[in-house]
Every structure is written in structure tokens, then in C-alpha cells.
């Protein structure tokens, strides 16, 4: 029962291979932005990014940095800050192949992997152009219905790597994500789960009945790194809110390639950015 290793942030980023299928939580759900910055610094390439179920700031950074070769997601948005600028540019230029989805289908695909079944059904979707664009989905007649009852089957999705940010890890490698249970589903479904945390805590989180319900158990966790304020400029539950000014500034500046490069220089490559991590 060796616990998952506690690494430096850059060493954690080094565990994401080029070409991997990488699942990322949405902006409001413990998104590991520090880790994404470290990935950009290491020059990661050719990622297939999965938005669980939607994508935002972190994915827009990766797209802008040229690290994404395919995107599967139900939507890409910066929320109140508006459209995701590098995503918008990439879609306009046709440079980024996208596999559109819908939120519950992303959850369903991950839950199928979580349960170890090859597919799960999902209501709705019939008659949409989304369905027409997903040859990997199937429509069957519900075998339990006397009458014709078509239903969509979504195949299981097991990402190579899940990247998540958590509030805390204990020394056994258990991590606490609170009510964001979709992060647990990502970790259960993924082959490898890399976690940044705000801090390391003493004791065993699974031994505390009050904390245990919000824990992802160590057996799903491949490695951990500490990244204080590791979701910035996004927020973490009630620990800190999103930095709306920083997000608004990004949404404005990153509309141009030049502005995006300047943002990277200041916040990803700059000595201040490195020192902050």
C-alpha cells in the first residue's frame, strides 16, 4: 500500500504523455489550472482534451498553446467573461477538430467506464444533428419495451489521464473534492489520475466520517503535487472565488495571437509565474 508519490508540479506535468486523451473538469469544478500552465511550459503536444462535461479557461489555454489536436466537449465558454477566445479563433480557422457532445452524454460515457460496461443508454438526443455527427453512438430499440422505443447508446470513455485539482490530500494519497463528485467519476473512469492540491493534511481522510463522503480514495490517485491557489484565476469551492478581473482581462487580451502570447509570457513562462508555483 505504497501511497501515490508526492511530486513537484513540473514532475507531475511530465507524467502527461504527448498524444494522451486528457479529461479536464469545468471551470467551476476544481480545475487544475497550475498543472495546465506547467503542461504548457513543458511543451505538451497533441492532446485529445475531454471537457467534463464542458470546457473553459484551462482548455482555452491549451488550445492557444497549440497543445490540442482534438477536443470532445459539450460546450466551451468562459462563463461571465464570455466566449473562449482561442477556441473561437481555432474554430474560425478550422484548425481544431471538435467532437461535439452534450453534458449528460459525457457523464454517461464516464459512468459506463466507471462501472466497467461497454456502453450506457441515454434519453433524448434523437432527431438532433448532434446524433448525426456521432457515428460512435448507436440507436437501438429498447429491448424492454413492447412498442417501438428508440434509445441512444453511448460507448464507455476511459481517458488516459484525468487532471484534477483538490482541496487537500492526506499522506496516504486520498484527496478531498467535496461535493464535486464528477471529479470522482473522472478518476474512476481514467487510467491515470494526476492531482494538484491546495495543501497536504495530516491523518487519513477516509477514517473521518465527516470528510470521507468528499474523498477520492488513494487507489485511484496516481500522483499528487501541491499547487497553492492551483485553480487561479478560477475558484475553489468556498476557499477562494474566481478572479473575475483576471478572467475578463484574459478574455479581452487573448482575442489576438499577440495578446495571448503576452498573457502566456506574463502568467505561464514569466519568472513571477514560476516563482508563484
Amino acid at each position: 500500500m505504497i501511497p501515490p508519490p508526492l511530486l513537484e508540479l513540473d514532475a507531475l506535468a511530465a507524467r502527461v504523455p504527448d498524444g494522451a486523451t486528457v479529461a479536464l473538469p469545468p471551470d467551476n469544478s476544481l480545475c487544475p489550472v497550475s498543472l495546465v500552465r506547467a503542461l504548457i511550459r513543458r511543451g505538451v503536444r497533441d492532446l485529445h482534451v475531454i471537457g467534463v462535461p464542458v470546457s473553459g479557461f484551462a482548455t482555452d489555454l491549451l488550445i492557444g498553446a497549440g497543445a490540442v489536436s482534438r477536443l470532445t466537449t459539450a460546450a466551451v465558454t468562459l462563463g461571465e467573461a464570455g466566449f473562449a477566445p482561442r477556441f473561437t479563433v481555432a474554430m474560425k480557422s478550422g484548425a481544431l477538430p471538435i467532437t461535439d457532445a452534450t453534458c449528460p452524454a459525457v457523464h454517461t460515457a464516464l459512468q459506463a467506464a466507471e462501472k466497467g460496461v461497454p456502453f450506457m443508454p441515454l434519453r433524448g438526443i434523437l432527431g438532433s444533428d448532434l446524433l448525426a455527427s456521432r457515428p460512435d453512438w448507436r440507436v437501438i430499440d429498447n429491448p424492454f419495451s413492447e412498442e417501438k422505443d428508440p434509445i441512444v447508446l453511448v460507448p464507455a470513455l476511459s481517458p488516459d489521464v484525468a487532471l484534477i485539482h483538490a482541496v487537500a490530500a492526506d499522506r496516504a494519497g486520498n484527496v478531498w473534492v467535496g461535493r464535486r463528485r464528477e471529479l470522482a467519476t473522472i478518476a474512476h473512469a481514467a487510467k491515470t489520475t494526476l492531482v494538484t492540491v491546495e495543501r497536504i493534511v495530516d491523518g487519513d481522510l477516509t477514517e473521518d466520517e465527516r470528510m470521507a463522503p468528499g474523498v477520492i480514495g488513494a487507489l485511484y490517485v496516481s500522483a499528487v503535487a501541491v499547487a497553492e491557489r492551483g485553480a487561479w484565476p478560477l475558484g475553489v469551492l468556498d476557499l477562494y472565488g474566481a478572479d473575475q478581473k483576471a478572467l475578463d482581462a484574459y478574455a479581452r487580451e487573448a482575442k489576438t495571437e499577440e495578446g495571448f502570447r503576452a498573457w502566456l509570457s506574463a502568467h505561464v513562462y514569466g519568472p513571477a509565474a514560476r516563482a508563484a508555483e
Binding site: 469545468p26 467551476n28 469544478s29 462535461p53 464542458v54 466537449t73 459539450a74 460546450a75 466551451v76 465558454t77 462563463g79 461571465e80 466566449f83 473562449a84 473561437t88 474554430m91 474560425k92 478550422g94 461535439d100 457532445a101 452534450t102 453534458c103 449528460p104 452524454a105 457523464h107 459512468q111 441515454l122 434519453r123 433524448g124 438526443i125 434523437l126 432527431g127 438532433s128 444533428d129 448532434l130 446524433l131 412498442e147 417501438k148 422505443d149 428508440p150 434509445i151 461535493r179 464535486r180 463528485r181 464528477e182 471529479l183 470522482a184 467519476t185 475558484g235 469551492l237 468556498d238 472565488g241 474566481a242
Partner: protein, 247 residues
């Protein structure tokens, strides 16, 4: 004097209270939908017993199973009312959240489908809301069907659009005919002005009145207790519509 937003809130609150085979006990509203959220709160203030789940509140949101729970709730039939919009809406209530052009998204790419392809089927009442009422939004046929307005018989579907509320008018929707009917005009609009701003065909109610605005009591509630309840969730909207915060 009511603002345009307050009028739209009142119009939607009227639709929530309108006679309908499926009563609203639980409405869910997304982060980008301050007007629908205020409408649900106004309907409650007027006496309806409605649970309102505000999605994506950072602190204290009602869900304890992550973002999946909203869709599970809808799948269970426990959400009675949801709001959808779109970059395009057509006369058969098809909605497009993805983008325009051929291929879709090539002219303008929007964020994406979100949960619409699922929610439009599993929630029994949908109110379509799009403030911009123009021929580029209300089109004869959407460039991309995020979710269809009607489905063939034999398709699992709990309901359809109840109505479409725009900045100019209220349309009701008849799923049997797969057509909208112009039901009321907002102040300053005419049959003609709506006809010119609408890219799809629709019917007109014989009796076509003005959309009922908010009462004095509605306005007091919106600017007082409802604002207080929603200010944390929609700070920018509240500041813009209701003015600077009372100290």
C-alpha cells in the same frame, strides 16, 4: 416605470402560472439566465410553490452529486421547467446552440450544445427565451438542430416548448401542429413589426393583446426581496437592471 427586463420577467412569470397539464414544482435555471431566474422568483412571490435550483452557484448550490445531478434529476422527471435559448430558433421550435453556417459553426461558432439535446426531451415544460428578436435569430430552419422542437410518435419525450419569449412578443407553441402562435405583443410592437422581425412562419391569436407587465407589487418584490435573494448569483445583472445597490 418598468424596464424591458422587468417586463420580460413578468411575462415569463405569467407563463409559469398559466394553465398547463404539467404544474411547475421545481424549476432549474442556469448561470447565464438571470431573467428566467427572476421570473421563477416572481412566480413564487405571487404564491406559486416552486423549488428553484440555481445551477453553478459557487457556494451553496443545491446539488451534492456534482454537475451530473441536474441531468439525473431531469432524467427522473423531477425538473418540471427549464429554459433554453439559441443562436437560432425556427418555426418548429428547433433550437441551435452550436453555430451557424454550412458546416454549422463555420459562420459563427457558439459554445456548444450544453445539455439541451437531453433537457428538451426529459423536462416536461420548456420556455424558450431569446431577447434578440430578428430574422437572423428566428429563422425558417436552423442551420444545426441541437434539439428538435417535436419528435415522431414513439419517441420518449416528456414535453415540448410551452412558449417563446422575445424582446418583442410572446409566442405559444403547439407541438401537434409544430407551429408557434403569436400570443401577445410587448409595448410598442405591432403585428406588422413582429412579422417583419420574424424569419419563420407562425399563426396569430385572434385576440392579440399587449403582454401584461409587472404590477406595482411585482416591481417592489423584484427590486426588494427578489433582488436580495439573487444578488449574489447575478451581481452584474442586478446592478444593471435594478440600479446601484441600496446600502
Amino acid at each position: 416605470m418598468a424596464t424591458q427586463e422587468e417586463r420580460l420577467i413578468a411575462a415569463i412569470a405569467d407563463l409559469i402560472a398559466a394553465p398547463h397539464p404539467h404544474p411547475v414544482r421545481h424549476a432549474a435555471v442556469g448561470a447565464a439566465s438571470p431573467i428566467p431566474a427572476h421570473a421563477v422568483m416572481l412566480a413564487r412571490h405571487r404564491g406559486a410553490e416552486i423549488r428553484l435550483s440555481l445551477l453553478q452557484r459557487r457556494v451553496g448550490n443545491p446539488f451534492t452529486e456534482g454537475t451530473r445531478e441536474l441531468f439525473d434529476l431531469a432524467g427522473q422527471g423531477r425538473i418540471d421547467l427549464f429554459f433554453l435559448g439559441g443562436v437560432q430558433i425556427d418555426g418548429a421550435a428547433n433550437i441551435n446552440l452550436l453555430g451557424t453556417g454550412d458546416p454549422p459553426g463555420s459562420a459563427a461558432r457558439l459554445p456548444g450544445n450544453f445539455g439541451a439535446p437531453f433537457m428538451y426531451f426529459t423536462v416536461p415544460r420548456t420556455i424558450l427565451f431569446r431577447e434578440e428578436h430578428s430574422p437572423r435569430v428566428l429563422v425558417p430552419k436552423v442551420d444545426y438542430v441541437s434539439a428538435p422542437g417535436v419528435s415522431p410518435r414513439g419517441t420518449f419525450r416528456r414535453g415540448h416548448a410551452q412558449a417563446l419569449v422575445t424582446g418583442r412578443c410572446v409566442f405559444t407553441f403547439d407541438p401537434e401542429a409544430a407551429r408557434f402562435t403569436l400570443a401577445s405583443l410587448h409595448p410598442g410592437e405591432t403585428r406588422q413589426s413582429v412579422r417583419e422581425a420574424t424569419g419563420f412562419e407562425y399563426d396569430e391569436a385572434a385576440e392579440l393583446g399587449e403582454t401584461r407587465g409587472p404590477s406595482a407589487e411585482d416591481l417592489a418584490a423584484l427590486r426588494g426581496p427578489i433582488r436580495a435573494a439573487l444578488e449574489d448569483t447575478y451581481p452584474n445583472f442586478c446592478a444593471r437592471v435594478f440600479g446601484a445597490k441600496a446600502a
